[in-house]
Amino acid sequence: MITFSLSRCSLYLGDDHVLAVDSNGFSEDYKHFYFSDIQAIITRRTGRGATWSIVLALMIACSLMGALFLEKEPVRIFFWVLSGAFFVFLLANAFRGPTCICHIMTAVQEDQLPSLNRLRVARKVIGTLRHAIERVQGRLNPEEVHTSQTEVIANPMPSLREMRQPRGREHQIRHYDGTMHMMTFALMLTDGVVTGIDLLHHTVTMTAVSSLLTAVYCICIVAALVKQYESDIPGTVRRITWASIGFVCVSYFLSYILVVLTFPTWMNRRPDSMITQWDMYRAMFDVSPQDSLPVMGVYAFAATCSLVLGALGLVRVKKHRDDSASAPRCGQNSGSEARG
C-alpha cells in the first residue's frame, strides 16, 4: 500500500511467524507475529474504495467537461488524456475490489496490517495464515468453542449500550438524537426544491434564496459532522452526511469552473454593467440556466443531489429518532449517563 508518507507495507510468511515490513525506501521497520501468539484477525470493510471511485468518476466528469466544452485543440487533447488516465485508475480501483482494514491481535497488542487493504486479498491471506496458525496452535478445540457458547447461553448477550465499553475517554460513545442532521437535510431538501423551480423558471430572487440556503446548510453539514463524531448515529446517516459535504465540494468546484470558463463571455455581452462587486453578483444571478447548457447541467446536478440526499437523510434520521424513542428506558438512562 502506498500512503501519503510514501511508505510501502508488505507481509511475508515465515516458517513460524508472519513478518510485516514497513519500508520507505531508506529504511525498513519490522514486526514479527509468531503463529503461536496470534489470537485473532479482525477484518473490517471500509468505504475507501467506493470513495475513490466517486472521486475518480467526478474527476473524469470534470475532465470530460473540459475536453468537450473548451475551444483550444491542445487543451482539449490534454483533457482527453487526463480523463483517460482517470478512467484507467477507476478501472484499476474497481478491479481490485472492496477495501478493508485488517488488525492482528495477540495477547499483548493489536496491530494493523496495512498491506491487507483489499477484501479479496485479505480473505486469501487469512486463509493461508489460518493453515499456518492451525499447524502450530492446533485446530480450534470444539470443547473450547462449546464452553464459549455455553458462556454465551449462561450470560445472555448484553444490550448494545452495555457492550459499548469505551477503551479510553476518547472512545466514549454518546447518544445523539440527530437534530442537527434533521435541520441540515431539511435545508438541503428545500434548496433542492428551490433550485428545481429556478431551473424551470429563473428569477434573481430564487437564485439568491438558493445561494443563501446553500451557505446555511454548508455550515449545518460541518456542525452535523462534528455532532456525529463518536455518537450512536447510524452508519447510513453518517455516510449521507459525508456524501453531502462531498456534493457541496463538487458543486462549488463545478460552479467555479463554470464561472472561470463562461464569465469572460458574459462580460463581453455587458461590458458597461459591471462597476462594483455587487454588479458582478447581479450579473451572475442574472444568468439563466436556459441560456447555456453547462449552467443547466450544474443546476440539474445540484437540484437532483440536494433532493436525493435531503430526502434520504431525513428518512434515515427520522428512523433513528423513532428507534431511540422506542428503545428501553434503561438504554435512555445509560445514554444520559454517557452525555453527562
Binding site: 508488505s10 511475508y12 516458517d15 513460524d16 511467524h17 515490513v21 519500508s23 525506501g25 531508506f26 529504511s27 525498513e28 521497520d29 519490522y30 514486526k31 503461536s36 501468539d37 496470534i38 489470537q39 485473532a40 484477525i41 479482525i42 477484518t43 473490517r44 470493510r45 482494514i101 488488525h103 491481535m105 495477547a107 477484501l119 487469512i126 489460518r130 496458525i133 492451525e134 496452535q137 492446533g138 485446530r139 480450534l140 478445540n141 473450547e144 464452553t147 464459549s148 457458547q149 455455553t150 458462556e151 454465551v152 449462561a154 450470560n155 448477550m157 448484553p158 448494545l160 457492550m163 459499548r164 465499553q165 469505551p166 477503551r167 472512545h171 460513545i173 450512536d232 447510524p234 452508519g235
Partner: protein, 212 residues
C-alpha cells in the same frame, strides 16, 4: 454439571481477552466469531469478520520457574541454585527453565540474546534496518535533477556504496543491484565532474603556458 459449566465459563472469562469492533470499539459477543463471511457489527453495523484462533481461548501461559538444585545435578550458569535443563544453542552455557529463551526454534541464554540483538545477529529481533543501497541509489539519482548538487552527492553515494557493501541489508532478501547501479551512476558523475574541472583548468592554464 451446571456448577462445572459456570466454573468453566468463569475461568474462560478470566482468561479471555475481549475483541471489540475496530471501528466503534464495541465489544463483539462470541457468537460473531469465525463466521465464513462478513457480518454486521451489532453497534455500528459495519461489515466485520473476526477469525479467532485457539490461542485466544488459552490466554496467557504462566512463565516457567527454575527447579531447585538437588545434590550433584548440573546448575544454571546464571542461577547456581537452580537445576540446568538445557544448554544455550549459541554459547553452550547451561540454563535453567527461567533463563531458557526460545526464539525461532533455538534455545538461547539472556546474554546471547542481548548480544545478538545489539550486533544484529538474530534477524528475528531486528525491528529496524537502514537500507544503505536504497540511500546510495537515491543519492546518486535524485540530485541529477539540479545537476550542480551532484558535485557533493556523487562522492557521498560512492562512499556509502563501498563502505556499506558488506553491511546487513534488509531482512527480506535483496540483491546488490542497487549498490552496483549507485556505484556506476555516481562514478560517472564523479568522472564527468573531474573531466569538467580538468577542462576548465586546462583552458586557463594552456594560454598561460603558451604566453610563458
Amino acid at each position: 454439571m451446571i456448577a462445572s459449566v459456570i466454573r468453566g465459563s468463569l475461568k474462560l472469562s478470566c482468561l479471555m481477552e475481549e475483541i471489540s469492533c475496530t471501528h466503534c470499539h464495541t465489544l463483539i459477543p462470541p457468537g460473531y466469531y469465525n463466521t465464513p463471511n462478513l457480518i454486521s457489527c451489532p453497534s455500528c453495523h459495519i461489515p466485520i469478520r473476526i477469525d479467532v484462533f485457539p490461542a485466544f481461548y488459552r490466554g496467557f501461559r504462566p512463565g516457567k520457574e527454575g527447579e531447585t538444585l538437588i545434590d550433584d545435578q548440573a546448575s544454571c550458569f546464571y542461577h547456581p541454585q537452580k537445576r540446568a535443563v538445557i544448554p544455550c544453542d549459541h554459547c553452550g552455557r547451561f540454563l535453567c527453565a527461567l533463563c531458557d529463551v526460545e526464539l525461532g526454534g533455538k534455545h538461547l541464554c539472556p546474554g546471547c540474546l542481548e548480544a545478538g540483538k545489539k550486533k544484529g545477529r538474530i534477524v528475528n529481533l531486528d525491528r529496524h534496518r537502514v537500507l544503505y543501497d536504497g540511500v546510495a541509489l537515491r543519492l546518486a539519482l535524485l540530485p541529477m535533477i539540479t545537476v550542480w548538487f551532484t558535485i557533493i552527492t556523487a562522492p557521498i553515494a560512492l562512499y556509502l556504496s563501498i563502505r556499506h557493501w558488506n553491511s546487513p541489508m534488509g531482512v527480506i532478501r535483496r540483491t546488490k543491484a542497487r549498490f552496483i547501479l549507485a556505484i556506476v551512476i555516481s562514478g560517472l558523475q564523479v568522472l564527468a565532474w573531474a573531466t569538467w574541472i580538468v577542462y576548465l583548468v586546462s583552458r586557463r592554464l594552456i594560454p598561460y603556458c603558451m604566453a610563458l
